[in-house]
């Protein structure tokens, strides 16, 4: 029985222990847990701010609080870089990959938070005045006239970040489940909070919720089966149980499959990607940026930990499956993206394709290959920043009634606003993997790792898929720069300091990593071995 559970059991179950003896306190390494505690604390404070701070000041207070909390969490992560231990009675593993992913998540979340703040504090906010109002009703108009904005997005986003920090760090399945839910529930709500096109937004929230809950149910059932097989849900114990059995019991295999389903759902892998295009399109754009970047990073961290630490013994079993999933994901993301006409939906399919590329590195792994793991980490950083930047630009192209997301509205944007179109083109080239952007080195690293792990077919499919995705990225560039703009075209907002900061961070990160990728590759390489 794990010590954590033992404590709870000892305290709660009658007769299990003499209540007058001292309650054995769990040992928590607070320093290692500090980032998660900070973000969680900030989120809770955010809720209190919602309750007590007068409405006019809420936006600024929340922004400052959230940004400050994230920066403090980042400082905590950086100061933890030398820690490698499993803490919280074996429930949380703070090792190299955890710290790397937590750092990346926080960095990307800062970018996303800047976008959220921009859209929440702006006069024509993108967040609902009162999410509970029925769209099109008098109540909604009254709220809009009164200048309400739903500043609860900030604590919700902070809770999501806390979940993203916990999810890849979890060292047993139940903590991972808690992390998964803490990560997902706020996102379900946030997806529904757009101010304009509320029908689409609510529909996105509904779909995300139903499918997400569906997949979480699979996760829990898989967890139960694994528990049944191994007698514990801690990864170390699962690995031990696997190593001591002669061959995989159907129980553990099905358990692994069900766990895999939920994890692949979270990172938009086919055939569980159906939610991605709809939800990315319907959610408010800052939330889409947040989801696209943060969730995927956290989900890959969790997937790698589950597959390598817990189920390393079964690697010959899950490798072919990962191959299959990677190939289908890449093909779906690449091929179906070709005929898309909405820019957010197109970016959603592009992120599906990127998930596929990342999976090729996972598929090339023979357990513990440092190269594969570090290449995935590098790719996640590169991908996170370019995603935030790209969606930031999408936020700026607006019509009279909100964002102009249809590609026909983007025609000729290069003539009207060359700088914005140029930056977007830069991010598209980064997605396509062209020099001198970080996308090139990310793809090189990932494909090299896949090839060296023996997954040559994956690399071939990956390169073909890259070529196909390059088509639709370049199509947008051609559309923006080489066609005449429409007479009544959209305007491009002058970005506020928040969005500018986010875009600058995105461009800088992509460019710098494109020119000198080596320091980050080395850092990822050093971070790599998962603690068992």
């Amino acid at each position: 029985m794990s010590p954590a559970i033992a404590h709870v059991a000892a305290a709660l179950l009658p007769g299990a222990a003499d209540p007058t003896t001292s309650f054995p306190t769990p040992h928590l390494d607070y320093r290692a847990l500090l980032p998660m505690l900070i973000v969680g604390g900030v989120a809770t404070l955010g809720v209190l701010v919602e309750a007590f701070v007068p409405r006019g000041k809420r936006g600024i207070t929340q922004t400052v609080l959230a940004l400050g909390g994230l920066v403090a969490a980042m400082v905590a992560v950086v100061s933890n870089t030398s820690i490698r231990n499993i803490t919280a009675e074996g429930a949380i593993s703070v090792d190299g990959p955890t710290l790397f992913i937590q750092g990346t998540v926080i960095a990307v979340s800062i970018g996303a938070l800047l976008l959220i703040a921009d859209r929440a504090l702006a006069s024509d906010a993108d967040f609902a005045a009162q999410a509970a109002d029925v769209p099109g009703s008098a109540a909604e108009q009254a709220s809009v006239r009164a200048g309400f904005v739903h500043t609860e997005v900030f604590p919700l986003a902070m809770f999501a970040v806390a979940g993203m920090l916990l999810f890849p760090a979890a060292n047993d399945l139940i903590t991972m489940f808690v992390g998964l839910e803490v990560l997902s529930l706020p996102l379900y709500l946030l997806a529904g909070m757009a101010r304009r096109r509320r029908l689409l937004s609510q529909e996105a929230a509904l779909k995300y919720f139903l499918l997400g809950a569906f997949s979480s149910a699979f996760f829990v059932y898989g967890m139960a089966l694994v528990y049944g097989y191994a007698g514990s849900v801690k990864f170390a114990d699962i690995a031990t149980a696997l190593s001591s059995s002669t061959h995989g019991d159907p129980l553990i295999i099905v358990g692994l499959a069900l766990l895999g389903i939920a994890l692949i759902f979270k990172l938009s892998g086919a055939p569980f990607h159906w939610w991605t295009p709809d939800v990315y399109q319907g959610a408010p754009t800052p939330i889409t940026a947040f989801m696209a970047a943060g969730t995927k990073i956290a989900a890959f961290g969790a997937l790698m930990r589950v597959l390598f630490v817990a189920f390393g013994g079964l690697s010959w079993d899950w490798r072919p499956i990962i191959w299959g999933v990677a190939i289908v994901t890449m093909v779906v993301g690449a091929v179906i993206g070709v005929t898309q006409t909405d820019v957010k939906r197109l970016l959603a399919y592009s992120s599906i394709a990127h998930a596929g590329f990342l999976l090729t590195a996972v598929g090339g792994i023979t357990v513990g290959t440092a190269d594969s793991e570090s290449s995935v980490l590098f790719y996640l950083v590169a991908y996170g920043f370019m995603t935030i930047g790209a969606f930031a630009i999408v936020m700026l192209v607006r019509d009279a009634d909100g964002e102009a997301n249809h590609l026909s509205r983007w025609v000729g944007l290069g003539r009207r606003s060359p700088l914005i179109a140029g930056i977007f083109a830069f991010f598209l080239l980064a997605f396509a993997g062209l020099p001198p952007t970080s996308g090139l080195w990310a793809k090189v690293a990932v494909f090299k790792a896949a090839y060296e792990g023996g997954a040559a077919p994956l690399v071939i499919v990956g390169m073909l898929a890259s070529a196909v995705t390059a088509y639709y990225y370049v199509r947008i560039i051609v559309l923006m720069f080489f066609q005449e703009p429409a007479v009544d075209g959209p305007t491009v907002l002058a970005p506020t300091v928040f969005t500018s900061a986010a875009v600058v961070i995105g461009v800088a990160a992509t460019l710098v990593l494109g020119i000198v990728p080596q320091p980050l590759l080395d850092l990822a390489g050093k971070a790599v071995p998962f603690l068992r």
């Binding site: 699979f218 099905v254 079993d317 005929t339 080195w441 090189v444």
Partner: protein, 645 residues
């Protein structure tokens, strides 16, 4: 060539982690580069002071170069190599491309030549380009060139050298086509660039082959392993390096661009196409000495190319009436001498480089003198319109005269020391090849004396054959003094370098040395050279000094006509390479349109069609998504169970 001599080759290991002055080596390259960037980005705002910055940059590099030189000779001979590590452009696996600069005797000699002669030419250009509205742009390009050339000679690995190689090619293109409103200039620039591309192709193949064989680009690694590599590979690398050198140094068969390159302003011809860029090929061969030392075939090829070119250039030079084109042909020929020398192996490297240095001085001086003449004669270049200018331009006459004496190898001046050393080394090689090479060099001496005397006589002596509006006058001070300094160098440098095998000893740690390198001025070869030189002067005097020079080029025999057309170099290129190349291109274009484009478009249409059909699968209904997920889950579980089984 004895083995002992071969093994007396380079044994320097560079000192890394340099301190003191050597850690500023990178400034040599960065100062002119920064100046060029400022002048180009600054635009018209910098027009008033742009030329001053443009002169200051190479001067600063020269001063730094002198400091480094002083530091270098203060060290013992076996330690004279210092690396200045900047950063490592490492990406995947073991593909390391370090940005390092290396100071050793060979590179410092070139640094002093480039920055010293370069600074003088920059000063000269202030006056020469004074009336040109694009003067600032000119200095920007010149500084860019100096920076790239310095990178080329200071690099300690072939990849950085290649970057510098391409950089000088770019600068040459920009400068030849400087007066881009002239179609002839644009064409000449493109021609130079295209021909150089062929050579660059050879060099890049050589570099790739080196990486494939040795796994590294750095000189230390490549040269260290050169002895143990496969012989055929080394020969291939040597020949490919030679191809690169041929293009950059205008050697046969890639010599056709040099004559046309005279379209650029005269300082450009002086700096790039006389003193420095065209010598980059010789530098490449000398620097790659350990590679050439192990492949007698490649070395033989180098000497043959050198010998052929020296005759080729000399013959062309005899028939050219354009003073710049005559000097260009002369350059081609003199570089032929240098290639001949460096192809001889350790016996000749030092002499080739010595001749390179002295040639830098006197050829630059000759070109600046030609520029001075053109400046005084309203940019006229046809020597048949000159004549009798000696009285009107005394300084130009004097400096040009000293350069003339140096180039023909008049005893006592620098050219005599270095050229005679080469001829001797060629004969010393022994065997039929030594005899043939030496004789070719000797014939070259005759021709050189002939055509240079012709130039002198047609320009400065005899009757005036000027155009109506010519008012020849001496050049301003800013143009005069660089010519004077270069003339002093033409006179004195040879003595400084060659006497007592001083220079050979200096370079020995880098390129090796043959046993017997002390210069013997009075020997059989020396006397023979002197005699044939006088013969050449005599014939020229009889033809041009005694008789009247016709105002129009007279009808002449086939050889002369061919020489007037660059020995049919262009016609040859056109018929052998260009026309078949065009047919091949047309064929490939046809194949590309029908075959490849058809395939690609078909594939794209296939993807598009698939996409349109399959996007309907995303129906928008949550339940169908859930069903697909469930289906996927079943497939996943089944697959996993099957795989396990």
């Amino acid at each position: 060539m004895t083995h002992a001599a071969l093994h007396a080759a380079a044994t320097l290991t560079p000192t890394m982690h340099t301190t003191g002055a050597f850690s500023f080596t990178w400034l040599l390259v960065v100062i002119p580069l920064t100046s060029a960037t400022v002048l180009l980005l600054g635009g018209r705002r910098t027009n008033s002071w742009g030329h001053l910055l443009g002169v200051a940059a190479p001067v600063a590099s020269f001063v730094l170069g002198l400091i480094l030189f002083a530091q270098l000779i203060g060290k013992p001979a076996s330690e004279r190599s210092f690396d200045n590590h900047l950063f490592s452009w490492t990406f995947v696996g073991n593909f390391k491309a370090p940005a390092n600069f290396q100071i050793d005797p060979l590179s410092i000699s070139f640094v002093l030549l480039i920055t010293g002669v370069g600074s003088l030419i920059h000063v000269y250009s202030v006056g020469y380009m004074a009336h040109d509205p694009g003067r600032r742009r000119f200095f920007a390009y010149m500084n860019l060139f100096v920076s790239a050339m310095l990178l080329l000679v200071l690099a300690d690995n072939y990849l950085a050298l290649y970057v510098g190689w391409e950089g000088v090619g770019l600068a040459s293109y920009l400068l030849i086509g400087f007066w881009y409103h002239k179609p002839s200039a644009r064409t000449a620039a493109t021609k130079a660039f295209v021909v150089n591309r062929v050579g660059d192709f050879g060099l890049s193949l050589a570099v790739m082959l080196m990486f494939a064989t040795f796994g590294s680009f750095t000189f230390t690694n490549v040269f260290g392993a050169a002895g143990s590599a496969d012989h055929a590979t080394m020969t291939a690398i040597g020949l490919l390096l030679l191809l690169g050198a041929c293009a950059k140094s205008a050697q046969v068969p890639l010599q056709s661009w040099l004559g046309d390159a005279m379209e650029g302003p005269t300082p450009v011809s002086a700096l790039i196409h006389a003193a420095t860029m065209v010598t980059a090929g010789v530098y490449l061969v000398a620097r790659s000495a350990p590679i050439f030392n192990v492949t007698p075939t490649a070395r033989l090829a180098v000497t043959v190319v050198g010998a052929v070119t020296l005759l080729f250039g000399a013959i062309i030079g005899c028939a050219k009436d354009d003073i710049k084109k005559a000097l260009a042909a002369s350059t081609m020929s003199q570089i032929g001498y240098m290639m001949l020398a460096v192809g001889l192996g350790p016996a000749g490297y030092a002499f080739g480089i010595a001749h390179l240095l002295t040639h830098g001085f006197f050829k630059a001086g000759l070109f600046l003198g030609a520029g001075s003449v053109m400046h005084g004669m309203n940019d006229e270049v046809d020597m048949r319109r000159f004549g009798g200018l000696g009285k009107y331009m005394p300084w130009t006459f004097a400096t040009f005269g000293l350069g003339y004496l140096a180039i023909i190898g008049f005893p006592g001046l620098s050219g005599w020391f270095t050229k005679d050393a080469i001829i001797e080394a060629a004969y010393h090689k022994g065997g039929t090849s030594g005899y043939l090479l030496g004789s070719a060099a000797l014939v070259g001496v005759v021709l050189t004396a002939y055509y240079m005397t012709r130039v002198m006589l047609m320009t400065f002596f005899g009757e005036k054959r000027w155009a109506e509006d010519a008012h020849p006058h001496e050049s301003p001070e800013v143009m005069k003094w660089p010519m004077v300094i270069l003339a002093i160098g033409s006179v004195g440098l040879g003595y400084l370098l060659v006497l007592g095998s001083r220079f050979a000893d200096f370079l020995a740690p880098v390129v090796g040395k043959a046993e017997d390198t002390a210069f013997k001025p009075i020997g059989l070869v020396g006397i023979l050279t002197f005699v044939v030189m006088l013969a050449g002067i005599g014939v020229a005097y009889l033809q041009y000094g005694r008789r009247r020079v016709p105002a129009v080029a007279p009808v002449a025999g086939p050889l002369v006509v061919a020489a007037r057309h660059d020995l049919l170099g262009d016609a040859f290129n056109e018929s052998v390479f260009m026309r078949p190349g065009q047919y091949l291109t047309r064929l490939l274009v046809f194949f590309d349109y029908r075959g490849i484009d058809g395939f690609v478009n078909g594939f794209a249409a296939f993807i598009g069609g698939t996409s349109s059909r399959f996007r309907r699968v995303q129906t928008g209904f949550v339940r169908s998504y859930a069903l697909s997920m469930f289906g996927g889950a079943v497939v996943l579980v089944a697959a996993l169970l099957l795989v396990r089984g």
